[in-house]
């Protein structure tokens, strides 16, 4: 038994070195596809963080016309406070003209044209409302009701933004997932081809092995180990890439002001670690499967 293990390891290593260029190509392809798989995981997680944070934040803004009278504003305020079971009264906040203008300056910092159209006099004031209910239809009917109040200019629902972000993240997830699956298939193909080439180079040896009575498994195992090693090395390279990518991303995001929502795009390192382990696992399986297919085909002579 020990001599068999020794044999398999020696043969794997020898074959690995013989086909260095093809091996490198197979490793790099699996690394790139695995990196994409890992990136998909991270993007998904980052968007989820973002969505969770936004859900807990302001979800509704009631804009009040700039020419609204003080009575109208008081009325709106009392209407909002009249349903404490549906909205969180303690978080209800009114921004007067100066405050609204300050916020507008912050929001439109990258859009001076829009900002120039606004003045502290003409800007609508706003109530920031946090609904207690998670039920979107209830929140929506509430907003329809507020819209009809005198002096209300518009009601904006964060739910709408939420939908956009959610659709966007789904789209990105599907696209990256499809791309990574395609690349994974390519990686299997390349590993398959590498092993096939390795076996072809040693067809004479394999013929002799079959004639003296080596079992198919005995012949196959070194090639499968070689494929597994290629996939695993691809996994290791992709983990390195993912780590570098994530570090760059995290430090980039960290330079944003906290509380803007952007900082939630940072993925916790425990999650990164589990993604890396998954990548190593996928790499090993992909390599072993690719080479098993190649070896089986070649032994069926």
């Amino acid at each position: 038994m020990f001599s068999r293990i020794g044999y398999a390891i020696r043969e794997t290593w020898a074959s690995f070195r013989r086909n260095l260029t093809l091996t490198a190509a197979a490793i790099l392809t699996s690394a790139v596809s695995l990196l994409l798989v890992g990136t998909t995981f991270l993007i998904q997680r980052a968007f989820e963080n973002l969505l969770v944070q936004w859900r807990g934040d302001v979800e509704m803004i009631v804009f009040v016309r700039s020419d609204a009278s003080a009575e109208q504003i008081t009325l709106i305020d009392s209407v909002l406070r009249a349903s404490p079971t549906i909205i969180d009264v303690s978080k209800l906040k009114y921004l007067n003209k100066t405050e609204s203008y300050e916020e507008a300056k912050r929001i439109f910092v990258g859009d001076p044209v829009t900002l120039s159209l606004l003045t502290p006099e003409s800007i609508p004031t706003q109530f920031k409302v946090v609904p207690l209910s998670d039920d979107p239809t209830l929140v929506r009917s509430l907003s329809d009701q507020y819209r009809t109040l005198p002096g209300v200019e518009a009601v904006a629902l964060a739910e709408d933004e939420f939908q956009v972000i959610s659709t966007l993240s789904n789209f990105i997830r599907v696209v990256t997932l499809v791309m990574s699956l395609v690349l994974l298939v390519v990686a299997v193909g390349l590993i398959w081809n590498t092993i096939r080439t390795a076996m072809f180079a040693r067809r004479r040896e394999i013929e002799v092995m079959k004639l003296v009575g080596a079992t198919n498994w005995f012949i196959r195992v070194p090639f499968m180990l070689e494929g597994l090693l290629q996939g695993l090395l691809g996994g290791v390279v992709s983990c390195g890439g993912l780590w570098a990518l994530n570090s760059a991303w995290s430090s980039g995001v960290a330079s944003f002001k906290p509380g803007t929502g952007i900082s939630s795009l940072i993925v916790p390192s425990s999650y990164l670690t589990s993604v890396m382990l998954i990548l190593l696992g996928i790499g090993a399986v992909v390599g072993a499967v690719g080479s098993a297919i190649a070896a089986t085909r070649f032994l069926d002579v």
């Binding site: 038994m1 001599s3 068999r4 044999y7 004479r204 040896e205 013929e207 002799v208 092995m209 079959k210 004639l211 003296v212 009575g213 080596a214 079992t215 198919n216 005995f218 012949i219």
Partner: protein, 225 residues
Amino acid sequence: MIRLDNVTKIYGKDTVAVREASFDIPKGEFVFMVGPSGSGKSTLLRLMNRQEQPEHGDVWVAGRNINEMPASRVPYLRRTLGNVFQDYKLLLNKTVFENVAFALEVIGKPRHVIERQVPLVLDLVGLAGKRERFPEQLSGGEQQRVSIARAFVNRPLILLADEPTGNLDPTTSEGIMGLLNEINETGTTVVMATHDHRVVNAMRRRVIQLDNGVIVRDQERGVYE
């Protein structure tokens, strides 16, 4: 030891390589398969180690019908057979010792068995002094001796030799035949396909003659006609 019952082997759609061949080879016999190229000698040998499967008929080796044997058992069948070829089929990147040891290594024999068996068989074939040479540093006759050593190192019941003297001059061939004879005398059944008149006539053993895939003669102590 080997029995063929009405064996027919067809390549492709209608190329009949062997037609309704039947014979019985008892244990310890030395048999020549003779006939011109393409007469079906090699196919018969390939049917005996299940490199080929017949379209009709049965092949029995060491008491078992090898055509009904599951593919997973074939390696164990082959461990009871030794194969020698016209082109030796040696591995050029391995030494004489490694080539012979390879046959034991790939069937999982432990190192100490290999260290004991290989020198013995190299001594038998007269290559004890050349164990560290590579095949390309040897003459054709010496290479064939290595190949015979590899076939015999696991003490097979049967030795199948396909034109083993096909690439060798008469004197060298004589040496190889002497070696095969010695192996036969240890009780190993030897089946040899050849179209070499001289070796057949010199040995005077059983001759099975083929012509176009059909057995036309099966004679004890025969000569090549």
